[in-house]
């Protein structure tokens, strides 16, 4: 874990302990540090921007409710992301989200609305498609490793697989994405 991740982990832990002690303001610290990471983890499972947003909000509620159960010295970032992951999996199972072509198009439009550079938008949509070709577990591993900055051991702990396995799956997933993007660029 690099220095920034260590620092972030320590900050999150302090914030969770403060929340457990009744200081709700500490939630802001977690929000500032983890909001996009929570969202990314939810999105990697749900592949739906709006639902990932709902999960992100719900994660804060769960953090408030369960802060007392956090054990000092365990991995705070993993603890937070596991809440987002469990919520996402619950929603995914209950709603059986099937991403219809229509919804996908709507998402692309809403995604593009916030952007200005056409080239950037296209590149971004290609990355979205490259993530979409991965299976759910691969997508989670890639997101947790690249965006949330978790180590393979931590990812393995979250997903219930070995560190070696996460490494292999990560390599395979990134190779798949690279291959997909190269083929797109060649066209």
């Amino acid at each position: 874990m690099d220095f920034e991740n260590l620092f972030e982990n320590a900050e999150c832990e302090r914030a969770i302990l403060r929340i457990a002690g009744g200081d709700k303001e500490a939630l802001k610290v977690i929000y500032e540090r983890m909001n996009r990471k929570i969202y990314a983890v939810a999105y990697s499972i749900l592949r739906d921007f709006a639902t990932a947003d709902d999960v992100t909000q719900e994660t804060y509620v769960k953090i408030m409710e369960n802060a007392f159960s956090y054990r000092k010295g365990t991995n705070a970032r993993s603890w937070i992301l596991s809440i987002a992951r469990n919520l996402s999996i619950d929603i995914f199972r209950h709603r059986r989200l099937e991403f219809s072509v229509e919804e996908a198009k709507q998402d692309e439009v809403s995604h593009e609305e916030g952007r200005f550079d056409e080239g950037e938008v296209l590149a971004s949509m290609e990355v979205k498609r490259a993530l979409d070709i991965l299976d759910p577990e691969e997508r989670q591993i890639v997101t947790l490793r690249v965006y949330a900055g978790l180590r393979h051991r931590e990812i393995g702990g979250l997903l219930g697989i070995t560190e070696e396995n996460t490494k292999k799956k990560y390599q395979r997933a990134t190779a798949k994405m690279r291959d997909f993007l190269e083929r797109k660029e060649a066209k």
Binding site: N35, R36, D53, Q57, H111, S124, V127, V146, Y147, R178
Partner: protein, 65 residues
């Protein structure tokens, strides 16, 4: 760099702000600026102290002469 593309993609998503607004770009290492600021302040203080010491020594040398 596939990792950079993935990071850029997630950074580009318009995430709602739990506190009522739309979050702009992620907060990138604000603590780093704090650390750099503190280091810069310490260096500045050190320079002032060294200068003060040197000028004291120079004054003493002048007096000795």
């Amino acid at each position: 760099m596939i990792e950079k593309k993935i990071r850029d993609f997630y950074n580009s998503l318009p995430v709602s702000d739990s506190f009522g607004e739309t979050q702009e770009k992620p907060d990138k290492s604000s603590w780093l600026f704090g650390v750099c600021g503190a280091v810069a302040a310490m260096v500045a203080l050190l320079v002032v102290l060294i200068k003060a010491c040197l000028s004291d020594n120079a004054d003493e040398d002048d007096e000795n002469e």
